[in-house]
């Protein structure tokens, strides 16, 4: 494999890993607070369609991005209300959210199919860094959303492990009763992080419709929301590992395309399956690793909290 091909595959890995990364970072926040949100796929789709819609109307991709984040956040609030206030089963509520989001985005997006985005996020070469051999073209000739995700990962890591609000976030997800007894607002924090998680998922969706594709197609996430959920487990709820994982998935995805482009005699269906097969393999390995190390995620993940329960 010559160097140009390698660089283009790796650069494509970053691009196609980015929407998954945004969604996974959002899910990490929600799950760290103890709320499992399986509605990722639905929130991404609604983010993708609403962001695209706003960008078409205003010709401003940044406005599109904000609308997408808002839409994802609003959808997540439904999940928050059901699971935090009404203490509904988080799995059921999340699945419902995905079904709802898929339907809603299909409905809203009907008139948009086939329209090209007027303005999209285009690659911008960063001065100096973009000139580094190998790394430059892979990492620093990307669009602004990719750069934003580079910043988001260390910021989230620092927030989680080195700040007071981060400590409270982790506490609420590990042991809400203990956090509550210490005066940490379990309900408000869970609301906050579920909503922020939804916003990040919306941004991940908008990345697909405003930078990656860039157009609207029904069901264009194609399971990326589910991959992101798997990735959260693989990353052991850590933003830095989520970044590596996203690019790994992105790489498998990109590899499929390139193999087709090179004209290898492998059916394209099989190549399209690669990311999903890879997901299953990674999950098997990650859970084996996890159970061996006794790291099973936030202690109270998936459990509703009820202060007066006896």
């Amino acid at each position: 494999m010559d160097q140009m091909l390698l660089i283009s595959i790796l650069a494509a890995a970053v691009t196609s890993g980015t929407p998954i990364l945004y969604a996974a970072l959002g899910e990490i926040l929600a799950e760290r607070s103890g709320v499992l949100n399986l509605g990722l796929e639905g929130m991404m789709l609604v983010g993708a369609v609403s962001g695209f819609m706003a960008a078409v109307k205003t010709s401003n991709p940044w406005l599109g991005l904000m609308v997408a984040a808002l839409a994802g956040g609003v959808l997540a609030l439904i999940h928050a209300f059901l699971t935090i206030n009404l203490r509904a089963n988080q799995v059921v509520s999340g699945l419902a959210l995905t079904i709802f989001g898929t339907g809603l985005s299909g409905f809203l997006g009907k008139p948009l199919i086939g329209i090209p985005a007027p303005q999209t996020f285009k690659p911008v070469t960063i001065p100096l860094l973009g000139k580094i051999p190998l790394l430059g073209p892979i990492l620093f000739q990307q669009d602004y959303l990719v750069y934003l995700s580079y910043l988001l990962v260390p910021i989230l890591w620092f927030y989680l492990y080195r700040t007071r609000p981060g400590l409270h976030l982790r506490a609420v997800g590990e042991n809400p009763a203990a956090a509550d007894a210490m005066g940490v607002g379990v309900f408000s924090l869970r609301y906050l992080y579920v909503a922020v998680g939804g916003m990040l998922a919306g941004i991940g969706g908008a990345y697909l419709s405003l930078a990656y594709a860039p157009t609207w197609l029904e069901n264009m996430t194609a399971g990326r929301g589910w991959i992101a959920i798997a990735l959260v487990i693989f990353s052991m709820w850590d933003p830095v590992r989520a970044l590596l994982g996203s690019y790994l998935f992105g790489g498998v995805d990109a590899l499929g395309f390139r193999i087709q482009a090179v004209g290898a005699m492998i059916p394209s269906f099989f190549l399209n399956m690669l990311p999903y097969i890879f997901t299953i393999l990674v999950l098997i390995l990650a859970t084996r690793e996890g159970s061996r190390r006794g790291a099973a995620g936030p202690g109270a993940l998936g459990l509703p909290y009820d202060r007066e329960e006896r």
Partner: protein, 509 residues
């Protein structure tokens, strides 16, 4: 100290839960500088009263006055702001976090950035000033239970708590740790704190308290000075009747070896060694008590004997038959009954009815089974018999057992386990959470079974219970049997040392 004004006062507190009135116009007051015991049986309303004082529950009626000011407590945060701190029986700690992280959790300062080295220094300084040794850098899951309790106390002191409430703090401690805790409490009272000590153990009250308030059935029976009272009169206040003398242990004839463990090793759920070569034997008609601070392998020992946990090395014999690593079914068939620690998790199926739970171990055999079918009528008769004989109070037989009270649950479980006329009963914390009446019943049932010739393995945290019921006492520490003593010769002091891991000269089981 007599003239000290009340630091905290609760007036006519009433709090109801669906179906129960947990507190009925209870009044309670504690002064600065005193250790005030709140005494009562389980379900007397002690924990509810204190949960109201810590802002966890809202009272339906009544008022709270702290330092002369009437206050409203809407949340635990309000309570902390008013200088009220509670050390719960089940610690409110976050195991993956460090000691210092747990201490500062929920505080307003620092605002954003955590400068851990500085916080750790402050925590260390504070804990040393009260003689509470603990390393602020260590993760909480690495600490012993006694150390975790110290973290809880430091946590409250760090918040400037002047009123410190401890809920059954000695339940998880060795006698030595208990003594150390009492010294700490005395030191805190000396510094002008009001220490409120929730307990149902009379001897502890007599040892450490200045004044005692007794609750019974959700009402306050009265407050007395320790010097004006004695254990017998406190017990009367607590139970509301004379306590019958405890059933005494009878020295029946010992029979054949029923249970024999030879150098058994097993892993914990976390994959760490939990049993490191345990050997013991129990004969027919003998009750062997396992003492020790919980988490030293007792749970794993019970699970190994009942076939729920694989044995890594060593042998398990029941009535001379090698049953190492056989299925629970084979072990049940060999005549082993199990009264597990977790009644509703391991012992009974919470959402199924009484009837289904009763036949769980017999459904395979006639008369309950008829080929592939269940004989509902036979099952019903069987359940009715057991419910009557063991005085389980149930409205109807299909009632989901999760709705039964602790005492009724335990009677139902014992009914099922004992009715099979087992040759070995493994009873794990059989009276935990039960009131005095139910405790009596359970103890009597176990002693009856012993008299009938069953071998009994009793695991308990309560040394008095063990000394009282057992023929021999084995002490476990870190997965090993530290020593086995005939209970007639065992002294509390000696057992306490063994529980803390100070091994005695070779004694074998």
């Amino acid at each position: 100290m007599k003239d000290e004004p009340n630091l905290v006062e609760m007036r006519d507190i009433t709090k109801g839960f669906p179906g129960v009135l947990a507190n009925d116009r209870v009044s309670f007051a504690a002064r600065a500088g005193e250790i005030h015991a709140l005494l009562g049986e389980n379900g007397a309303g002690k924990s509810t009263l204190m949960s109201i004082l810590t802002g966890l529950y809202r009272p339906d009626e009544g008022e709270i006055i702290v330092a002369g000011r009437r206050i409203e407590l809407h949340s635990p945060r309000d309570a902390i702001r008013n200088g009220i701190g509670m050390v719960y029986q089940h610690f409110r700690l976050i195991p993956p976090f460090s000691v210092a992280e747990n201490v500062i959790l929920g505080l307003d300062a620092p605002r954003f950035l955590l400068n851990m080295p500085e916080i750790e220094k402050k925590v260390a300084a504070l804990s040393e000033s009260y003689g509470l040794r603990v390393d602020p850098k260590v993760k909480v899951w690495q600490l012993s239970v006694g150390e975790q309790q110290r973290v809880e106390i430091v946590k409250m002191l760090y918040r400037g708590a002047r009123i410190l409430i401890l809920d059954e703090p000695t339940a998880v401690l060795t006698p030595q740790e208990t003594r150390e805790l009492f010294l700490t409490l005395r030191r805190m009272a000396g510094n002008g704190h009001a220490v409120i000590f929730i307990t149902h153990k009379l001897h502890e009250v007599m040892e450490v308290a200045d004044r005692i308030t007794v609750l019974r059935g959700g009402r306050s029976v009265g407050t007395v000075e320790k010097k004006d009272t004695n254990p017998a009169s406190l017990a009367r206040m607590m139970v509301g009747r004379e306590i019958p003398p405890a059933p005494s242990r009878s020295e029946g004839p010992r029979g054949e070896k029923i249970l024999e463990l030879q150098a058994v090793q097993a892993m914990s759920d976390k994959g760490l060694p939990a049993l490191r070569g345990v050997s013991l034997t129990i004969r027919a008609g003998e009750l062997l008590g396992i003492a020790g601070v919980s988490g030293n392998g007792q749970k794993e020992l019970a699970e190994v004997v009942t076939g729920l946990r694989p044995v890594q090395a060593g042998r398990l014999y029941i009535k001379g038959k090698d049953l190492t690593n056989r299925s629970p079914k084979e072990i049940i068939e060999a005549g082993v009954s199990h009264v597990p620690e977790d009644r509703l998790g391991t012992g009974l199926i919470p959402n199924l009815g009484v009837l289904e739970n009763v036949i769980l171990k017999e459904y395979r055999r006639p008369p309950i089974s008829r080929g592939p079918l269940l004989d509902r009528r036979a099952a019903r008769e069987r359940s009715e018999d057991l419910v009557r004989d063991f005085q389980v109070k149930v409205a109807y037989l299909d009632l989901p057992v999760k709705l039964l009270s602790g005492g009724n649950l335990q009677r139902l479980l014992l009914a099922r386990e004992i009715s099979a006329a087992p040759s070995l009963i493994v009873a794990v914390y059989p009276v935990r959470g039960l009131d005095i009446g139910a405790t009596e019943t359970v103890h009597n049932l176990l002693l009856q079974q012993k008299a009938r010739g069953a071998a009994i393995l009793l695991i308990s945290e309560d040394l008095e219970e063990i000394l009282h019921l057992s023929d021999r006492v084995a002490v476990m520490y870190e997965g090993e049997i530290q020593g086995v003593l005939p209970s007639s010769e065992a002294r509390l002091e000696e057992i306490g040392l063994l529980m803390a891991g100070m091994k005695k000269e070779a004694t074998t089981a």
